[in-house]
Symmetry: C2
Subunit: 575 residues, 2 copies
């Protein structure tokens, strides 16, 4: 009832310009959600009673809310995992992931954000990264990260008594407030950047002569005038505890890089075992690096490529060990495991040996096309999730809200900002057709690229202005018959112009009430106890810059949204 009142107020506000005061004791969703709630709210309320009863029963049976494990790896096209008849085509086998999919619910329409950083931010905060300016793909000395004021799922579940841990590729900032143990995790083992860390090594320098981060390996440059341009210090991987110290783990060598995933996996299994034995509910995110960007001598897959080798040789065996451990500890019936990719394939025109490729969908990482944001994803919870396929739309932000509900922690979600994530407990527990979302707004960097509503999609920007043939104009697409978004239906679907415009206007108007934030910047890698001198030096202008006619660190506060970065964020950055 209350929600319907909010919707009515919203309609009034948008339609008539009347000022309305919102009493906020419910999560604030995007405007479109209220359009759905107004039409389905009664059905959902009735369904919720049944769901609450089942969750209460489970809690009684197990004595605690369910454990939650979230495994998220990189850059994999929908279909490359979980479907043997596609894996035969792509030259890989992931028997453990496939068996998990067979025992669980496989999503055919899990939408993510377009790249690593925004995708991770979305899962952590339940918000589209455009809201908190986390669409910037963090690179060396990014001096940017997740704001301390953002509320993460770790903070939400901590308040409900969960033990929380993060292990692996964080990629949500190199500034101190963004470190995972400063964002609600009890313990963390994390990298601030992505797999390019494997190249920022002496071995990487040897293999890629243009990197230039290890100047002592290069011939002397007789033209060199500036010794401050190239960054000399960074932290490959660190560990920390909530309220405790942060320490660099190992060094910045390639050998150390190769130890990250095994160590993260070891820590995850140990964390699970420790908390299972203690009887404390837990939430752990294990987001692996999956692979090195340097070619590796051991090949695991028929494809012998980075992606397939990473999936078959690293992720899949870990899933096997993870589920075996959960079964062995007797907690399978009280543990939800979600396994998924963070966005579409990195390469559109695959370079040799990488194995990333478009398949069913066009586009990949960085693109608002389905190929950029529709990923393999599956949920496993024996006894509670029934095996099957789900054709429903869901978005990775939904995990935030859903995990909160499963953990009995919904009341800890702040109501002062938009949370895009919808509670999808009904989809998990009741299966196919029980999603509470039929839409997705797809941003590429800070720009709204497309909007999905059911099987329809509107591009707001042309996907290919000067490409093949005469290019592809922005327009309307019917996804089942044109999954690659090649042929806008400018006649057949032009009647959708107004409905899509209405959706977008509501979305933009709602932002006036809840404005997007700007980026948060700072000096990178502060607060690391055992940081080497060159890392500590990042916060101190070098002696040679002492007498500049301006503050040499002033620029840090002014890094906001460089136009060039927007281009990068829109997908050119990581291809």
């Amino acid at each position: 009832m209350f929600r319907i009142a909010v919707f009515a107020a919203l309609i009034q506000c948008l339609g008539l310009g009347t000022a309305v005061v919102y009493a906020q004791d419910h999560i604030v969703h995007d405007a479109e959600y209220y359009v759905l709630e107004a039409q389905n709210g009664r059905k959902w309320a009735a369904e919720d009673e049944g769901l609450d009863a089942r969750l209460a029963e489970l809690r009684k049976k197990h004595g605690r809310p369910p454990n939650i494990v979230h495994v998220m790896w990189d850059d994999t096209a929908y279909g490359d995992v979980g479907i043997p008849a596609i894996q035969m085509v792509r030259g890989l086998k992931t028997p453990n992931l496939n068996e998990m999919a067979r025992q669980g619910l496989m999503f055919t329409r899990m939408y993510t954000e377009v790249g690593c950083t925004p995708s991770r931010a979305a899962c952590m905060t339940g918000r589209h990264p455009v809201r908190n300016a986390m669409y910037n793909i963090g690179m060396l000395r990014e001096m940017h990260g997740l704001r301390g004021e953002e509320l993460t799922i770790a903070e939400v579940l901590s308040q409900a008594g969960y033990a929380t841990a993060f292990h692996g590729k964080w990629h949500l900032g190199d500034i101190e407030e963004s470190y995972p143990h400063n964002q609600g995790f009890d313990e963390a083992f994390f990298t601030c950047y992505n797999q390019i860390l494997s190249l920022w090594t002496r071995k990487g320098e040897a293999g890629n002569a243009t990197i230039g981060l290890f100047e002592d390996m290069l011939p002397n440059d007789p033209y060199k005038l500036d010794d401050t341009f190239v960054t000399k210090g960074w932290v490959q991987i660190a560990e920390g505890t909530k309220g405790g110290a942060t320490r660099q783990w190992g060094d910045n060598s390639h050998d150390n890089y190769m130890k990250i995933d095994p160590e993260a996996q070891r820590r995850t299994l140990e964390f699970i075992e420790r908390n299972a034995k203690k009887g404390q509910p837990f939430y752990v995110a294990n987001w692996p690096n999956m692979a090195s960007f340097l070619p590796q001598p051991d090949k695991f897959s028929v494809a012998r490529s980075l992606l397939q080798d990473g999936l078959e040789g690293n992720i899949d065996p870990f899933i096997g060990k993870l589920l075996a451990k959960i079964n062995e500890l007797g907690i399978a019936e009280n543990t939800l495991v979600v396994a998924m990719a963070d966005n579409g394939p990195m390469a559109h025109n695959p370079p040799p040996g990488c194995g990333f490729a478009e398949t069913i969908f066009r586009g990949g990482k960085g693109d608002f096309l389905e190929g950029g944001v529709r990923v393999p994803a599956q949920a496993w919870w024996p006894g509670t999730i029934q095996p099957g396929l789900a054709g429903d739309i869901l978005h990775e932000t939904d995990l935030f809200t859903t995990f909160a509900r499963l953990g009995g922690a919904t009341q800890h979600i702040t109501t002062d900002r938009i949370v895009d994530g919808i509670d999808q407990t009904a989809l998990l527990l009741n299966g196919d057709t029980h999603s509470r979302r039929d839409y997705v707004f797809i941003y590429a960097g800070p720009n709204l690229g497309a909007t999905v509503k059911g099987n329809f999609k509107r591009h707001w920007i042309s996907s290919d202005p000067i490409g093949e043939a005469s290019g592809i104009p922005a327009g309307f697409f019917f996804l089942p018959s044109d999954p690659r978004e090649k042929s806008p239906m400018l006649v057949n679907l032009i009647h959708l112009k107004s409905p899509f415009n209405r959706m977008r206007v509501r979305h933009e108007l709602w932002k006036k009430r809840y404005p997007d934030q700007t980026e948060k910047h700072g000096v990178p890698f502060t607060g690391i106890e055992n940081a080497p001198p060159e890392v500590k030096a990042l916060s101190q202008p070098p002696a040679s810059l002492k007498n500049l006619p301006f503050d040499p660190l002033e620029y840090v506060e002014n890094l906001d949204d460089l136009p060039f970065d927007s281009e990068l964020d829109a997908g050119l950055g990581e291809r």
Copy 2:
């Protein structure tokens, strides 16, 4: 032993130019096969003993060789059938085909020819259509068709005592010698062209004002000088019996077109029942039209598109009835059913409502890319074929040779020409990894477009000379990591230049011994008992042309390989 001798002779012939006399009492395959046989012949011979024993045992048990049913529909991308997680994406359900796939062997690398006519010719003759010039996609008054001298699987199996029937889209010529009952089938119900017949109707004319086949529907043309240019007579669908009469069935209306598939299905089920009860082994090819090119009011699929509606509303229910009938008749354990598409999707940039689209692979009908020639395909034979997936390469020509072996009819295959089809009985009976082929030569029209060897592929022609970015040069591809053939590996795979060249040279040299044929032309639609006057007139120059200074039908014999037709055949024709 003998085969190894042939191979040795071949090597000698190609390598040293020595003249060799071939004693031909075995099928002649393409040169590449002998390279494989020289290396695997002993293993295969041993395996064949086991296969022969199993086939003999089955024959003893059932009192006859197995029945064979071949269903082949149009233009479907690999994955669109048999894989529920792709069907959710594509907006269709084919529960019967999927259940058949689950119970049978699903091929992940079934290669076809690039278009309807060549694909059908390949299945019928076991030969690449370049050998008998059947790469021409037959259109109205094509005056061309399968030569009487070609040996079809119907002729081969007839000689072994099989009852044979063809029902549906033949598309192998409009000249009398090419009619299916003149090519070995006991009974036939067939169209000479493709689904465009649905547009060559008064309803089609009403919906597509530029067709112009029904001139009385058009405004009078005051500039018209020639009344012979537009063809006035054709036969939409005919029926006939071996050695008996040929008759047109119904008229050329759209209503009649819509009756073709139901009637073909009825006849197939009746044929099966009749022969099962008679105890005669049978072979029936049901190759449906699947759909009309005119939009239909009844929608069956989520995609509401021609392809998906045709599969979900027509093909899939028929498969359900077919397998139910076979089960009901108690002949399931002695009946092989093969269901497959004839080539890749018709449209690359899908027009509204058609539903044909590229998915995993790039390209479609007409293309030598995987998308043109890699199709959904599955074989079902309860008790004999074990459920599973096959990652092996096979080619549709292999069905010819395999059906012959299963029918105990291999000795009826002529040894005076190349038969590209390899016996794949081992793959059917022993499953994954038992294919006897690791290569495919892919022709687009008369031109060799690409060669596949294992996971490697060489393009002989650029797939995109002036397309996206700077185009895609012809080169070498590693299919698992680049299924869309976007990035030739010019460095990583350049060592394959010589092996692929060697393959091609062997293939071309073997053609010097067994040359490709030219097209066979003639007057269309002769020998049809109840043909209307305008069809009979096709063989008689109209009165107005009686006094020409040349023979008005002389051109028929000179239609060979018009350059424009080659362009059409290479894929532009049917997009």
